[in-house]
Subunit: 423 residues, 2 copies
């Protein structure tokens, strides 16, 4: 009997905060989970804090301590997921199914002690395994773990996604379903490109690029985790029963459509900084970026060139998040002074437009086609960055939407016929 | 150096929900705690959930599940204390003192698995001991424990008081201070008796009686706990620095005033039920009260007498909480039918007025003096119950306040001069 039970697929279902923001939505989610179980699956659910709970708790803490300690922040914030997991288990029980809620001390997720952005070091699935074997739907508080001192830790932004993937790994789940307020991953933002098409299947590497490039469906960390352990992710809507987008491992022998370009993304949260007329001596770049790293400012694209003005001088252009621009410029001032040369120009009016697809590896001329499309639209390219499976251009922010539409059309992303999938 | 540190007194300070209901009050409490530390004490703090948090969480759960499961209720409710402990530790740190917050998995409080009213089975103070030795103020989430499965449990009404006393026992504290919105224990309710006087010291046994008789300062369970392990309790105001009331063990050789009557209490949450004309056969009382016990209805005073109406018949009168009256009457109907005799009369218009004091043990005539005072005030006594250190009378509820004032005056409770105490 229990042997029979083990053959049912094990599904990890993750629901974000907006899906459980109030009692009605929570009941909807509960019915959704019950349907999944009654279809013959064993279910482990991971849930985020309800609606704005986490932000409310952070606001409250700021009223009490302008610079609240990280350890206590984690204890505070984790209460949000504790509450939602308890309530969701109650909602499932109200509909007549067996369910139990679990929080950090029971999940078996051990982390390091870097509070507010802890890394998982070990997962012991024994307790949850026992619960699902006993027929329970296990409703787990996302975002939280326990360090070696039994202090509660949280996993940083997108932490509940990480929890879901981590539990899927530990429990050897067949799939990890990530429920969101969108229908899946699209070839471009449908608000910008009306012809944008839902992607049926996308490879982990493509999704990792997209997530870095402005697609906000999932955080990179959880995708990396799923890729490492080859856990298929199914990103889908919490509002309807439509199939969403599967994020999967690239096959040795491809079974699915492998277009040259899978999707177009735009990131408007970008600013460009150019340090011009820098002395052309070793260690200049190290000094510039070392200073920024010390201030925890992430630098994205970097382009170095010889100065247009003077021989023996260099220009270095790079991008940072718009929100970091002011801090970055302030941080660079003493560095330039120290270098006895160079000056800073910057622009907060740029965007990064990118195309992504593993097919690029075997196709020449993809970048050229992108540049040609942008030129035809009168879009000036300020910086270019490429990887094996993506090309990114920094352009004027006001041209970003038009550029995305042009690229979507040029690579015929709206016209690719979906391949029949087993989902 | 650490040996030196250990000689500083260890104080457990408990703050209720109203004391930390908002950021300003929390900051006040933080300063209060810091003062205590700077006076040379080691401090362990136990805190309840902020203001109405627990009630709000219960309301939310009822919207999701009309009959929410106890296990998930505990996980849900404990989040309230988790939040307040994290915030209070932040408030202390904001004022420049070292503090850390702790919740169930770190407190070392192990309980049985009777959710929503768990009993403590073991306390391991190792972690907290380490924290205070390191100079931290340990801010502990009240009300919660962990059972053998690492499931969170809660300790029932007044649970944070129980936590405070339990930690005081485990850590061998010198005193457990219970901060409330009143100044201490009074000889009578000051809203009813303007001359009521704050009691400087009161014995555990007297306080246990008072708590059962309508004084709502602390729950019996935590007082019993403190008595068992001889932890002095100091009940005092969170709003001012005044000394409150000490609850202590009765000395072999009394060092303090030992008045005949320590205090007068009134409980207006009482209802009287009389089963009349019951057949005078063995087992009648067992059947009556067995039925009520099955329905978890607590019976307080019981008076049995031969029927006034008929030989061979009995009357049994008893009291229950007003809130249980309706359920109790319904529960008794089939019992009477089964007994083939008797009927029920009841009144929801009664109160229990009591006098308490260990001095009664060695003084005759205390009850008589009480009856005489009530008679002089025109108060009719419906039922009487006595123990070694208290006398209680059931009277008409409308006469309760007047009865308390009369008894307070008759036993000269306002005039007893306080004895100089070492506090």
């Amino acid at each position: 009997m229990s042997g029979d039970r083990e053959h049912r697929p094990l599904v990890v279902m993750k629901f974000g905060g907006s899906s459980v923001a109030n009692p009605d939505r929570m009941k909807n989610v509960a019915r959704r989970i019950i349907d999944k179980k009654r279809e013959g699956n064993r279910c482990v659910v991971v849930v985020s804090a309800m609606g704005d709970t986490t932000d409310d708790l952070i606001d409250l803490s700021k009223k009490i301590n302008a610079d609240p300690p990280d350890r206590e922040m984690d204890l505070l914030m984790s209460a949000g997921e504790q509450i939602s997991s308890a309530l969701l288990a109650m909602a499932i029980q109200a509909e007549g199914e067996k369910a139990a809620a679990f929080f950090a001390p029971q999940l078996g997720i051990r982390t390091d002690s870097v509070h507010t952005k802890a890394r998982i070091v070990e997962i012991d699935g024994t307790r949850l395994q026992k619960e699902i074997t006993n027929g329970n739907i296990a409703v787990c508080a996302g975002f939280q773990g326990l360090d070696a001192s039994n202090d509660i830790t949280t996993l940083g932004r997108g932490g509940s996604d990480t929890t879901a993937v981590a539990l899927a790994v530990a429990l050897k789940a067949d799939v990890c379903e990530v429920y969101t307020d969108v229908d899946g991953i699209y070839t471009a933002d449908p608000r910008v490109v009306p012809e944008a098409r839902k992607i049926e299947r996308i490879y982990f590497d493509e999704m990792l690029e997209l997530a870095s490039l402005g697609a906000k469906v999932m955080m990179n960390r959880s995708i990396e985790f799923a890729k490492k352990y080859n856990i298929p992710l199914h990103v889908r809507s919490s509002l309807n029963g439509n199939a969403g987008s599967w994020i999967i491992e690239e096959e040795e022998t491809p079974m699915m459509e492998r277009p040259i370009v899978r999707a177009v993304a735009a990131d408007k949260d970008q600013a460009r900084i150019t340090a011009i007329d820098l002395p052309d001596v070793p260690g200049v770049a190290a000094k510039l970026f070392g200073g920024l790293a010390e201030s925890n400012i992430n630098v994205d694209m970097i382009v170095q060139s010889s100065s247009e003005h003077e021989i023996g001088k260099n220009d270095i252009a790079f991008t940072v998040a718009s929100t970091d621009l002011k801090r970055a410029v302030e941080r660079l001032k003493p560095v330039l002074k120290d270098l006895s040369g160079g000056s800073i120009v910057f622009s907060d009016d740029v965007a990064k437009v990118s195309i992504v697809g593993v097919g690029m590896r075997s196709h020449a001329g993809v970048a050229a086609k992108m540049f040609k499309s942008l030129a035809a639209a009168g879009v000036n390219i300020e910086m270019i960055s490429t990887s094996e499976i993506k090309v990114s251009c920094i352009i004027s922010r006001s041209k970003a939407d038009e550029a995305v539409r042009r690229l979507h059309a040029a690579f015929e992303l709206g016209r690719q016929a979906p391949v029949a999938a087993g989902a």
